[in-house]
């Protein structure tokens, strides 16, 4: 039943998004614009340093992630659909997992476009399997935390403004780990050299997912 609910919500979000393409296109355009901005701000040149690359990429993902998270729950609330979900006799954790997964899919979809564009523009090879794994792990924890916090920010008077304020300081350990792991890998270090960062990432993902699951009931009810 849990998995069926998760799947139903994920399916619903993906079909809706496929029909109107609002969230994804906003995230994508935003991400590309940010990368262009960084180009001028940091004088990125071809073959830019790995450290800079991973910083630019993760700051971009972090910002465009908040766009998606904000959208995902507040769109439900605006049309009153959130009440529809809450009326159903389903585990609130299942609603959370469904929403977090759809957020993760949107972030990954953005990454699928942004990463090749970045490698093309700056002539850096980003197609390192271990790096892609880091992207997945980082986005997983980030979406887990962001989905939970967006449940709080959407009920606030400040709405969308509040989410980054809530999310960034709390997600900092995850972002540090993910940036360090990425820059190590992009510098050409082998997986074993950044192994400790990967372990840390897994630990953070587990902590953030668990905590969010435990508190989501309190966030979404009433």
């Amino acid at each position: 039943m849990f998995l069926r609910t998760v799947w139903a919500i994920l399916w619903k979000d993906l079909v809706t998004e496929w029909r109107n393409r609002q969230t994804f296109s906003a995230m994508l355009v935003f991400a590309l614009v940010v990368i262009f901005l960084f180009n001028f701000a940091l004088e990125l040149n071809r073959g830019a340093q790995a450290v800079v690359t991973s910083g630019v990429i993760w700051v971009t993902f972090a910002f465009c992630g908040t766009l998606g998270f904000n959208r995902s729950l507040s769109a439900e609330q605006d049309r009153g659909c959130l009440d529809g979900l809450l009326l159903a006799p389903v585990n609130r954790a299942a609603i959370y997992v469904g929403k977090a997964l759809s957020n993760l899919v949107f972030m990954l979809a953005t990454a699928v476009v942004v990463l090749p564009v970045y490698s093309l523009l700056y002539n850096t090879n980003l197609f390192i399997p271990a790096f892609l794994l880091v992207v997945l792990l980082g986005m997983l924890g980030y979406a887990a935390l962001g989905t939970m916090l967006s449940g709080m920010s959407m009920r606030s008077r400040m709405r969308d403004l509040l989410l980054p304020v809530l999310l960034f300081p709390v997600a900092l350990p995850l972002l540090v780990a993910v940036v360090k792991a990425s820059s190590g890998l992009l510098e050409g270090q082998p997986l074993s050299a950044v192994r400790h960062w990967m372990d840390l990432l897994v630990v953070y993902d587990i902590i953030f997912v668990t905590v969010s699951l435990l508190v989501f009931d309190e966030v979404i009810e009433d």
């Binding site: 960034f168 300081p169 350990p173 360090k180 905590v211 009433d222």
Partner: protein
Amino acid sequence: MRSGHPRLLLSLSIAASLLLCLALWAVFRYAPLELNMGAVQKVFYFHVSANWAGMLGFLVALVVSVIYLRTADLKWDIAAVAGIELGMVFTAMGIVSGMIWARPTWNTWWTWDPRLTTIAVVEMVYAAYFMLRQGIEECERRARFGAVYSIVGFISVPLTFFSIRFARTIHPVVIGSGDSSNQVFNMTPAMLQTFLLCLFAFSVLFVVLLWHRLRLGLLAQEVEDAANACWE
């Protein structure tokens, strides 16, 4: 209790002021001058004590937030706010005194050392806590969200410290030497006694302020309830 301060609170307040005076005296008169750093080292006593009291505040907030989520009794939410407010004030004192200490010893106001960075993030997390509360009108939801965020924040802070620590030890690029706040100077017995006295004085001060703040919060709640009852 309604009319005026409870006696214990009053005596504790007086005790805290006396203890603080005693601590000041100990810092300037009793503790000897440190050889390398000189007079500026005296900041150390209050600096560590303030940070200690700040951490106490956040810890109190964490505990009462968990209790709030279990009981949904608004008085625990008032306690959480009290803890976090005090935590932020004491931590700010810790940061400022730390900067005063850092300037002559490390020759800079600020370094991106794990402790400094973490403490800055702590202030940001709890500033976000107040922004979150500000935007929510219904008091139960505000209390619930506040409790959730203070728990999440408290869990994330040690992780931040760990992450940065990890990053810095692998690439030792900190200005100055490695983990400079760990720089140990040899404490003479008199210094140690002074240090412990300061810790104690700040702890008592913390308890007194927490109690006052709690009392204030509960009274404010009462006033609001009465006003609502009147208005209806």
